[in-house]
Amino acid sequence: MTDDDLKKRLRAWTVPAPDSGLADRIVMNALRHPQKMPWSLRLGKTLETWLLDWNAGAIYKCASLAMIVVIGLSIGYSSPYAGGADTISIVDLAMGGMNEWEGS
């Protein structure tokens, strides 16, 4: 038997058509399951919601804002100019340095 004869002969095997109700059963069975999203899409969607929807995670957003304020204030108070530093004194300091450099 040649390869072509074998292939022709194999085609004699036919299979019965599916049950008429199979399509409905497939659809009903599948729709009972929730759809999964790949992690990259899930991350993108979460980020999008967080960034564009002001209401999403409002507690976390407020907590983060409060944390930023606390960190900002603590850095401000612990700096060498804390309490006494203002714009003029900083400019004076810088000018003094420049005068010294020009004099030398």
Binding site: L6, L10, A12, W13, P18, L22, A23, A30
Partner: protein, 191 residues
């Protein structure tokens, strides 16, 4: 999206809609490919109920994982047949066929056609082929089903089975040798 418009869409476009939980698009895909899926599963698995379950499970996986389908990586049909083939292979491994399973359908088919000699002869021939194909090792059987029954090209079948073309050709060579031996021996016995 209208029902008529959905019918005209390509599989890849329908999958985009399925990823957005469009049930009409999913139903269209099921109606479009259920026949072919049933044929592959019926040829892969000896029990009809297992074949039907494999088809249902495969479509369920399509629905659940629709968002993972990337049309740039593979055509829908390749992706779907890969899912179906793997589901069938899992079923074979978890529930290996009993000796009686392969014989069971033969009696049913033979009864249908007993009154018509020509039909009877054709059914008997089909049954001999079914037995020969279903006794092949799993991967050889899948290679034969995809290449000789579904008429996929070797690269397409290799992609579905996740092997290279050389390995697929090796499977087909061994399967052909085995089938010729079995079907040739059957001919000798009958004649």
């Amino acid at each position: 999206m209208g029902e008529g418009m959905i019918q005209d869409q390509s599989d890849e476009d329908l999958m985009k809609a399925v990823a957005k939980a469009n049930q009409s698009a999913f139903r269209t895909l099921v109606n479009r490919h259920m026949g072919r899926a049933n044929t592959i599963a019926m040829r892969s698995l000896p029990r009809r109920e297992d074949a039907e379950e494999a088809v249902q499970d495969s479509f369920c996986k399509i629905w659940v994982n629709a968002a993972s389908f990337d049309p740039d990586k593979a055509k829908f049909m390749t992706w779907f047949v890969r899912i179906l083939t793997n589901t069938c292979l899992d079923k074979i491994r978890s529930n290996p066929p009993r000796a009686g399973d392969i014989d069971a359908l033969a009696d049913v088919l033979a009864d249908d056609a007993a009154s018509y000699d020509a039909q009877y002869g054709q059914k008997r021939e089909g049954e001999a082929i079914r037995k020969a194909v279903q006794t092949l090792p799993d991967r050889q059987r899948m290679a034969v089903i995809l290449c000789y029954f579904e008429e996929m090209t070797n690269p397409q079948a290799a992609e579905v089975l996740g092997i290279n073309v050389k390995a697929l050709e090796g499977l087909l060579v061994r399967a052909r040798r085995d089938l010729k031996g079995r079907l040739g021996a059957g001919e000798d016995n009958d004649g």
